[in-house]
Structures are given as structure tokens and as C-alpha cells.
């Protein structure tokens, strides 16, 4: 898949809560094909302490408007600067990067499990899976009800099961405690997960043990994002592979983590 480097114009910067915001960015030219799970690398300019680009998942696209939505959490210097950007500002972007989630072999119900900002790639994935005739259900975990993000954008595609650490929204506990995972016979033909490694590992172990296929989109620290530097490695049964090229999405069975 061809990669591009382009200046995007910020159309909107929507503050969701104290930590999360959505950047809606527009390209002057038509958007190329992009798939769920892929990400972009943003150049954050003029920010003390930020030298490298920042990888951010594709949250949604609007082909006609030539816009991409990014759901971003203020994690540090770079993302905090991005949160301050205003309509009309330019952002230099390399995209689309990485591989993508794959649809299950057979039709049925799928579960999309996200934790915190790890929910970012899920609506785009849901759209894709619904298109392919799947029935989508979400399981989303947040620290508390103040940090829920843009739930309507998930509900469009399927039922949303919520967990919060303190029970202020949905069920109390982590996603692993959510009753959707407690049912004796899990109805899902495939489970997708993105979030903190510790959560993804637990999800993967749980669903693999039940013979269900699982794909995870991994965290990593990246320098180039395009496969040139070998900094973003993940150990797999095939050896060390690049998360920015062979990933970020992996069948969890292949991971040594």
C-alpha cells in the first residue's frame, strides 16, 4: 500500500473531556485507501522535548470530505500540544501506516474490546466488519465515567458494554470482570482488542483458551513508522518483527509477550 506524506488542515478540534479530544483533519487531495487498525504519524512542531513523530490510529474517515478523525489522549508533551491546535492549523502527516485488522473467516458476532485510548481504532473496525456482514459488540473499559469518549460513535455499530474501574459507568472493574466475558458459551467468532498490554494479554489468554481467534493492536515506541529503523520490534513466533509494518495488528497466537 502506498504511503503518503501530506499537510492536513485541522477542521475541528473537539474536546471530549479532560484527557481526550478528537482532531478532524482534512487533506486537499483525495484520500487513498485506508483500513481499520492502520495509523498515521504526526509531526508535532515547535514543542520542547518532542523530536520524533507521534503514531495515532485512524479513528474514522470521511472519503467525501477528505477528512480523517483521530481520537487522542493527552499522554505527554506531544499530544498536549496537539490538543491546543486550532481550526486552520496545519499538521504534517505520514499515512496510512501498518497492517490492518482482518475479518473472521465465517460470519457471526464479533467482540471489540478496548481500554482507554485503545478504543480509538474500534469504530473504524466496526464499520468495516458491519460492512462485511458481521454483528458487532463492544466492550470498552475506562478509569471512570468522566473519561468516557464519544460513545455514540460506537453505538452506531453495535451494543456497547462498559466497564469502569470505579463503577461510575457500566459495570465496576476491568473489562475482564465484565459480564459479557462471563457467559458460559461466548457467542463470538472473533475478538479484537486494543489497549494497555496487560489488558490485551488477559483478553487474549481468555478467548484463546476458549478456541476463539483474537487480534490485538499493539503499543510500541516508534521512530520512523515506515519499517526503516527496526526500533518498534515485537517478539513473535517468527522472530522479532516490526510493529509499524508487520503490525500493529497481530493474531495473538503469534505473539511472544
Amino acid at each position: 500500500m502506498t504511503k503518503y506524506i501530506r499537510d492536513f488542515i485541522i477542521e475541528d478540534n473537539i474536546r471530549l473531556n479532560t484527557e481526550y479530544f478528537i482532531l478532524n483533519i482534512r487533506s486537499e487531495e483525495a484520500l487513498p485507501d485506508m483500513y481499520p487498525g492502520q495509523f498515521v504519524e504526526i509531526k508535532v512542531e515547535n514543542t520542547d522535548g518532542v523530536f520524533l513523530r507521534r503514531p495515532i490510529s485512524i479513528y474514522g474517515i470521511d472519503r467525501e470530505k477528505q477528512t480523517i478523525n483521530l481520537l487522542i489522549q493527552k499522554a505527554g508533551k506531544g499530544t498536549t500540544k496537539l490538543a491546543q491546535h486550532k481550526q486552520g492549523d496545519k499538521l504534517n502527516i505520514i499515512f496510512p501506516l501498518g497492517n490492518s485488522f482482518t475479518a473472521p473467516e465465517r460470519k457471526g458476532k464479533v467482540l471489540l474490546v478496548g481500554g482507554g485510548v485503545g478504543v480509538a481504532p474500534l469504530p473504524f473496525l466496526a464499520e468495516y466488519l458491519v460492512d462485511k456482514g458481521m454483528e458487532v459488540e463492544f466492550l470498552l473499559g475506562f478509569r471512570n465515567s468522566d473519561l468516557l469518549v464519544d460513545l455514540k460513535n460506537f453505538e452506531k455499530y453495535g451494543k456497547v458494554n462498559l466497564s469502569t474501574d470505579n463503577g461510575t459507568a457500566g459495570e465496576k472493574g476491568t473489562v475482564m470482570d465484565n459480564s459479557v466475558l462471563k457467559e458460559e458459551l461466548l457467542p463470538f467468532v472473533k475478538v479484537y482488542t486494543c489497549g494497555p498490554n496487560i489488558m490485551m494479554k488477559a483478553v487474549a489468554a481468555f478467548v484463546e483458551a476458549r478456541g476463539i481467534e483474537c487480534e490485538a493492536s499493539l503499543e510500541n515506541t516508534m521512530a520512523c513508522g515506515i519499517g526503516a529503523c527496526l526500533c518498534c520490534i515485537q517478539e513473535t513466533i517468527h522472530g522479532n518483527v516490526r510493529v509499524c509494518i508487520e503490525g500493529p495488528v497481530f493474531n495473538t497466537k503469534e505473539l511472544i509477550w
Binding site: 502506498t2 518532542v50 523530536f51 520524533l52 513523530r53 521512530a223 529503523c229 527496526l230 522479532n240
Partner: protein
């Protein structure tokens, strides 16, 4: 018109002084989508060893002030894989493909070199005696002068085409190493490889890199790199390929003024995958503005009283 051709020694010429650094440009094709890599003076590919290496464990990267640390550790699929799978894919680029030869023992360096000798379209190798990220070999050769001489001598015997030796900045006297490898028949030297550095996460109290230390690159190291190029320039007669923190044409020109015949772009490619083409154009523009008709006039052209 500005003449941009430069002579790297050992019969090798670059059509312009701009090339890309080993480990920072993959095998070239990673950048196909962004630029015509055929415009480059040369591409230095990732460090290549005798057999496949998995490199160091994750995490391998830490961002630092105006730079980054890496501890990739020569992950590569080995020289045989390079010959079978990669060479056919890159040999017809309209630029020179130069292999960065790495190893843990003199025998490994020689083995890799010999195997590469059969590849017609590899006009030069860059002998990497300066990788800070492997336990044995690597930097040890680059920081111990007799070892640097020995490995250069043995590889020189095995390699008839242009031989570039890449020096480590982690030494007291760079000119000593420059002179030493010149004496052993290097056709040119490239410098600098990364400076040995380290990062700690105060929150977790752990080293950021799995290997604790790693190699520092990017603009942070530029002043040191520039100084070493200048020192080496005054120590040797063979051409110098300068690198370390070059981010734009102005930086590149500074390296040439300090004594470099050509330059390499490393970390800069991560931030802007099109930077190399911009640097080629920027150097030409500078020459035109300053009435310089031959880019070679820049080399060592620093005015000092």
C-alpha cells in the same frame, strides 16, 4: 550548472554528496513511496552480518532532547539473505547501494565481505567497526586502535572495490583512528556512528532501553560530529563522509565546509522521509547563490584566520 559529483576514493563517485545512513533508510525501498531514491548519491543499507540476528530485545528506542537513543543491535537476516532476497530488489536503483558490513569477529567481517564480492552492483562496503549495540565486536573494534587496524587490514585483503571505514565517536582521539585505517588501505572514512548514551525512566526507576545503553543520534550530536569531521580532515588525505545530526542542507554544507566530501542522513529520515531530496536541492541552491560551480569547493572550505 553546479557540478555535484564527488569522488569517494577507490574508484567510487557519487553523483551528488547526499547519501543515507546505515540503519536509517532500510534497504531504500521503504522510501520508494516518498521519493525517487535514485536521486541519492548513495544508499548505505542496514548493518549486515554473517548470519541472521534478532537484535536486542524491546524497548530499543528512547527519545532524547533533539535526538534519540537506539539499541537495535544489528538485527538483520544475514548476508546470504541479503544476496538472495534484497540485492535483486535494489541492485537496479539508479544509485549506489553500499553495504554496511558488521560482525563480532574479524572472521565474520571477512566472511561477509567475501560473499559480497560476487555482487557486481555493490561498488563499496562500509566497514562498521563502531556499533555500540552489540556485546562482542562492534564498537570494541572501533575504540581500540590496533583492533581497528587489524579488521581493516583483513577486510582490505578481501575487498577490491571501494572500502569505507565507519568510525566510532566514542574515542579520545578520532584523528588517531582516521590515520590508522587510512594506513591500512581504507579508501575513505565515514563518521560518526552513534555516541554511547543512556536513558532512565524516573517514574519506574528502570532504564528505558532493554540494553541499558544505546546509541545517540540526531541534532544533539551534531556539534561533536562536526568537530570530529574537522579533526579527521586535518589528519588524513582520503575522503571523508560526514554524518551525525544532519537535518537540512545548511547542516550538510557545514559538514562539507568542515572537510566532508559527502554526507549521510540518518535520523532525519525518520522525521521527514523526503529530507534527502530536499538536501540535494538545498546544496545546489546554496552553490548557485554563492557562485560556486563545483560542490567540491565546499569540502574543507571553512575560512579560518
Amino acid at each position: 550548472m553546479v557540478n555535484t559529483e564527488v569522488n569517494i576514493g577507490g574508484g567510487l563517485k557519487f553523483k551528488n554528496p547526499v547519501s543515507t545512513a546505515s540503519g536509517c533508510f532500510g534497504y531504500g525501498y521503504e522510501y520508494d513511496d516518498f521519493i525517487d531514491v535514485g536521486r541519492l548519491g548513495a544508499i548505505f543499507v542496514k548493518g549486515t552480518t554473517g548470519s541472521k540476528r534478532e537484535g536486542n530485545p524491546y524497548p530499543r528506542m528512547a527519545e532524547t532532547a533533539s535526538g534519540m537513543l537506539n539499541s537495535v543491535g544489528l538485527q538483520n537476516k544475514g548476508v546470504d539473505h541479503f544476496i538472495k532476497e534484497i540485492y535483486p530488489r535494489v541492485k537496479d536503483y539508479n544509485t549506489h547501494i553500499i553495504v554496511n558490513v558488521s560482525g563480532s569477529t574479524v572472521d565474520e567481517y571477512v566472511e561477509v565481505t567475501e560473499k559480497l564480492s560476487d555482487l557486481e552492483k555493490i561498488p563499496a562496503i562500509e566497514l562498521n567497526i563502531s556499533c555500540p549495540n552489540v556485546r562482542e565486536g562492534g564498537m570494541v573494534f572501533g575504540t581500540h586502535c590496533p583492533s581497528a587496524m587489524m579488521v581493516t587490514r583483513e577486510v582490505r585483503k578481501a575487498w577490491k572495490r571501494s572500502l569505507i571505514v565507519k568510525l566510532s565517536p566514542n574515542v579520545t582521539s578520532i584523528h588517531e583512528f582516521a590515520k590508522a585505517v587510512e594506513g591500512e588501505g581504507a579508501d575513505s572514512i565515514s563518521l560518526i556512528n552513534t555516541l554511547l548514551g543512556m536513558a532512565i525512566d524516573a517514574k519506574t526507576r528502570r532504564p528505558v532501553l532493554a540494553t541499558v545503553t544505546g546509541g545517540l543520534s540526531g541534532p544533539a550530536v551534531k556539534p561533536v560530529a562536526l568537530r570530529m569531521v574537522w579533526q579527521a580532515y586535518h589528519a588524513v588525505k582520503i575522503p571523508i563522509i560526514g554524518l551525525g545530526g544532519i537535518m537540512n542542507a545548511t547542516d550538510a554544507i557545514e559538514f562539507m565546509l568542515a572537510g566532508a566530501t559527502a554526507i549521510q542522513l540518518g535520523t532525519a529520515n525518520f522525521i521527514d522521509p523526503t529530507v534527502s531530496v530536499k538536501v540535494i536541492e538545498g546544496i545546489e541552491a546554496y552553490c548557485r547563490e554563492h557562485g560556486i560551480t563545483d560542490v567540491n569547493e565546499l569540502t574543507g572550505g571553512m575560512i579560518s584566520d
